[in-house]
């Protein structure tokens, strides 16, 4: 099969970007979307053109590196999958596919389809942890955790930090990402001592990074490759309200 790509090209963070259109060589429908880009890139290289820069690593939906917007959808069509888990058979012969970087103010474009998501790290550094020192923990089974709470915490912990929630949100809000971490630790006994401090600090940093506010439009949940639930945002809002009243 063959498709036409309309790709965002941008040399560097400060240069202006533009769309370029490329025909693809003959593709195998069993190719992954990223493999298709590999093939196109090799083709471009052979023609003496610069290959399209895109971020990727594990190629199995767990590292959170890959992230393209395909026809306006972060990670493309289909629920619960990252870009690297998208296969060409979901496209039709001759289709024009628009590929853009994740769009959000706090995610500046570095080159072509690569954006800078370091804002997430800075949010995590403000409180996305339990302050334990190595070697100082009690025996693991001294802290029982009810199975439902543990399962819910794992649902939240599954977030791969890809940023698709931000990219899909019309407000570029990072609430889904932040709430996933806040909820994971808030659900577990280990996270209790710092529960209030954590949510206040992480939200403050999230604001400082320039992410928007959640207006509950739900795109994030739809785009999330790990099906992180909006209910975690509600949880975080409640935690925040309680933290406001109780203080740190």
């Amino acid at each position: 099969m063959k498709v036409t790509l309309k790709v965002w090209r941008q040399q560097s963070p400060n240069s202006a970007g533009r769309f370029e259109t490329y025909p693809t060589p003959d593709l195998n429908p069993n190719m992954s979307f990223l493999e298709m880009l590999d093939v196109v890139n090799d083709d471009l290289t052979r023609q003496g053109k610069e290959p399209i820069a895109f971020a990727h690593d594990c190629r199995e939906g767990i590292c959170g590196t890959c992230g393209l917007s395909i026809n306006g959808r972060p990670h493309g069509e289909g629920r619960g999958t990252a870009t690297c888990q998208l296969y060409m058979r979901h496209f039709t012969e001759g289709q024009t596919i628009t590929i853009e970087p994740f769009r959000a103010g706090p995610f500046p474009v570095l080159q072509d389809l690569i954006v800078d998501r370091s804002a997430f790290d800075r949010i995590m550094q403000k409180g996305g942890f339990v302050s334990v020192r190595t070697g100082s923990c009690q025996d693991a089974n001294a802290l029982p955790v009810a199975k439902p709470a543990a399962e819910l915490a794992m649902d939240a912990a599954a977030c791969i930090g890809c940023g698709a929630c931000v990219a899909s949100c019309k407000n570029a809000s990072a609430m889904l990402f932040v709430s996933a971490k806040v909820s994971q630790l808030g659900l577990l006994p280990q996270g209790q001592p710092e529960r209030h401090r954590r949510v206040l600090a992480m939200v403050a940093q999230m604001d400082r990074e320039g992410f928007g506010n959640c207006t509950v439009t739900g795109s994030c949940e739809e785009a999330c490759p790990k099906n992180i639930s909006l209910a975690f945002i509600a949880r975080m809002n409640r935690d925040y309200a309680v933290a406001l009243l109780k203080g740190e």
């Binding site: 917007s69 019309k170 407000n171 809000s173 992410f211 959640c214 509950v216 809002n237 409640r238 203080g247």
Partner: protein
């Protein structure tokens, strides 16, 4: 201090303000709807109800100022949040016009809210301040009086409402206003519960279904009055 600072300056704090004020406003519109529906019980019921509301001017003004604060805070927060959101997302996607899976209501909250505000101003001038020039009936609503059973003179709200809605364009504006309010709330209710932290894994699914139902109830409840008047309800009172 921390509390006030965080509440008014953080993203989540502003949303809490919006939701809390929204809750106040929602309670009012539901209460007001129930009050208004007494129109269908005849002049005595609704006029007595209005009399009751005006029983204590001090209390009335406290409530009015409270409402004014609510709406003021609500609008302030709405503008803040919307402005921040616009800055956070300067560029849209070429590949698709609307963000994934969003509803029309959710994308137009600021607009629907502002039109509702305009409607409320008109409505206050219409029925509360009773400015004659804007009711298009040529009669002063302020002068509509009747005697209660106890023989005290009181304002004839029943007649005012029937008279007011006898003008089709005025009724139409009410329908539009209430329609937009319901649109605002079809998303706003869900958002409110989310912002207040109630849309959790357990109650979330139920509330999500309930929000649009409540919005419809509101719409039908309010619209039934101008509609009924248009269809001839209460005509005899005008003679």
């Amino acid at each position: 201090m921390n509390l006030i600072g965080r509440l008014f300056c953080s993203s989540v704090g502003k949303k809490l303000i919006m939701a809390a004020t929204g809750l106040g406003l929602v309670l009012f519109v539901f209460g007001h709807m129930v009050g208004n529906l007494q129109v269908f019980l005849g002049p005595e019921a609704i006029n007595r109800y209005a009399e009751l509301l005006h029983f204590s001017p001090e209390l009335l003004w406290v409530v009015r100022l409270g409402m004014l604060t609510l709406i003021g805070l609500h609008i302030w927060a709405a503008f803040q949040v919307s402005a921040e959101n616009r800055v956070a997302r300067p560029v849209g996607y070429d590949g698709s016009p609307a963000p994934v899976e969003t509803t029309y209501a959710s994308r137009t909250m600021l607009m629907s809210g502002l039109i509702v505000a305009a409607f409320v101003i008109y409505h206050l001038l219409h029925y509360t301040v009773r400015v004659e020039a804007i009711n298009f009936t040529g009669r002063s609503f302020a002068d509509l009086k009747e005697l209660s059973e106890a023989g005290v003179e009181r304002h004839d709200v029943f007649k005012m409402v029937i008279l007011g809605f006898s003008k089709p364009l005025v009724s139409l504006f009410y329908v539009v206003g209430v329609g937009l309010l319901s649109l605002h709330l079809s998303h706003g209710l869900r958002a409110m519960f989310q912002s207040l932290g109630l849309l959790t894994h357990r109650c979330g699914p139920l509330i999500r279904k309930l929000a649009p139902v409540l919005a419809w109830v509101l719409f039908l409840g309010y619209v039934s009055i101008p509609l009924a008047v248009m269809l001839g309800f209460g005509k005899e009172a005008l003679n």
